[in-house]
Assembly symmetry: C2
Homo-oligomer: 424 residues x 2
Amino acid sequence: MFRYTAASMTAAVLTVGTELTRGEITNTNASFIAEALTSRGHDVTELSTVDDDRCRIVQALRRLGEVHSVIVCTGGLGPTTDDLTAESVAEALGVALERDFDSVEAIRARLARAGRELSDSNARQADLPACARVLPNAHGTAPGFEVRVGRAQAFFLPGVPSEMKAMFAERVAPALPPPAGPCQTQIRLRLFGMPESAVNDSLAGIEAAHGVELGYRAHFPELEVKVRARADGEREAQARARAAANEVIARLGREIVYGEGEQELSHVVGQLLLDRGLLLCVAESCTGGLVGQLITDAPGSSAYFVGGAITYSNQAKEQQLGVRPELLATHGAVSAEVARAMAHGARERFSADVAVALTGIAGPGGGSPEKPVGLVHIAVATRAGCADAKMVQPGSRAQVRRRAAFAALALVRSVLLETEGARK
Amino acid sequence: MFRYTAASMTAAVLTVGTELTRGEITNTNASFIAEALTSRGHDVTELSTVDDDRCRIVQALRRLGEVHSVIVCTGGLGPTTDDLTAESVAEALGVALERDFDSVEAIRARLARAGRELSDSNARQADLPACARVLPNAHGTAPGFEVRVGRAQAFFLPGVPSEMKAMFAERVAPALPPPAGPCQTQIRLRLFGMPESAVNDSLAGIEAAHGVELGYRAHFPELEVKVRARADGEREAQARARAAANEVIARLGREIVYGEGEQELSHVVGQLLLDRGLLLCVAESCTGGLVGQLITDAPGSSAYFVGGAITYSNQAKEQQLGVRPELLATHGAVSAEVARAMAHGARERFSADVAVALTGIAGPGGGSPEKPVGLVHIAVATRAGCADAKMVQPGSRAQVRRRAAFAALALVRSVLLETEGARK
């Protein structure tokens, strides 16, 4: 049952706090530390959170110390009575707490700078397990410490995120053991427009052929494919991951794989506009401003985005975009004809090179057999003409809107990839 | 060592995914479920996260099943080869996986509605532990399931947050065992516009006076105050929580406490518009469509929202909203004068009763000593005139934009609370 234990050089993160186990706050400390350890080559396999209960902290520590080679723990080092981490560590190790007088003086000096006196509960923060190596805290009152728990090197940091982050960089990172085993590297490919199961089916055999591991993460409405490679040398690991990633791209196509790493679809579209010297505007109905918001998420988007119209009512479509009333009467507001007229109208009125328009039924009401919830028409107008797309995908209102906004950006990208740089 | 085990009626949350143990995403599922269980009176003492490793999933399940009476698990139910939860549960229980044909048909029907065929990997999602009770998923392809693991009632849900949340409400909440101990109830008050420390100071003494517990949760840019009461009878717990909540509202004021429970600020604004028979439009610069998006998040928002203009460039402000070039030249685009002109222009051009306009510097570039990043001017025009507000709060681009959008909605709410129902 413990087959992975023997050879394991894995790492774990332990976060302590009843505010976490009650779900009052999201555990950003755990993800920060997990990412920081992973990026340094450590294999983090477990994140554990327990409430402010001495018995449960002791048990969690003992258990993690049997399995992992590195533990980073945050929380429970504060001055109040529900801060129990130091005494729990002492109990787990069967040692006493001892007051560290250098830490007491550091706390006293820090409080004095804020015009405060050292109280008993402040001084209590300097009570550390007898065998601990102190990790001084230049960013707050609570010192951290390092001990050995079972087979693990264990670091204890305060839970205040700013203090924890600074202390991780200053005190933990330099003291970490070198990661065991082969070098590992990862390439994250970002996809839109193909269902996860179809992607999975398309990529059959790549893991074996390239000696890599593929991971999938749905980040609605996008999908991420992670290509992970391990090898003895860093260069070989990178080469292997790159070769496999290139095969993923070749199999799925550049239409689907729009970027890598931290690249957002809206930023990729922004860069294409910038490269071509083109200006974009939007005309949104069912998305109500979401496409504009995604585009302007990117700093510097004013270089390629002029603005747009949110035309929720028919009257707004007529007045703001010049959509003819006959068109609305004949085809209905949710139609390819109206999407195209919105795009043309926006492009002209906003003096833009490229206009993207959306009109659809986000639901939950308003659907019909001919025009169900999830039907969205998208059009992209340029100097060269107008491309359009229709999608019918059911889902919640938020899902329909978000998927539609991404589909609109994807259509802009696809049009731009075939567009010359010249301004209209 | 296991002193808490004997009498424990505790709950645990298990989240599965290498993207979590690597810190690639923050674990919002765990905090959502922990909060949902806590608010229903369950004592959540442990959150555990393991990577996509069958052996570690099995171990975590067995361990949690020895200690807790309820386990809710998410993740690893997708169609790809790294989704291992169902087979790990089967291994932990020593049973086989069996294909559930009702689930296969549900998946097939769902895919058919999107014009897709059932693939092998889709069908694999219906392979569940032999003893499982199926929890049908109306929001995605992967069914959930319930089994007994050790002494625990264990629920397994997909990791996609929207599916997980809906299935928790529909499938898990009704099936949970009654919590042990006294009845507890909770009222969640939603606040915007006061710093957490000031809220905390204003509420001193309420806990002791009413025999309740106050919890705070920052949900940027909002704040939630949770009023929890325990008593032997449900009615008494509710009465106590209500009395304390009323005192919180009285101390902070209705300007700050805008809603309760699931009420969103944008929905509260929508309801006020609906009650008064008024139509809203937006004129957005730095927020790029975010206010429109928040307003139209609400189903049925077309009853009170006509649309708006996203005027990112000066030219768009002039052409779409009739802002005079002299105004832009004299005061700059980010000024109270331009915000007011945008609001008046939008109100007129969109034939709306109420118009809200924003112009600001979202950063990270574009700031100056006189007009720093985080400066936002907001104006709300109605038949009666124009209200405006100025905010200067630094932060990331996303923070500035989000806080500005909420401040705009809050200003609309404040104006509406003083506005008669008559149309212009």
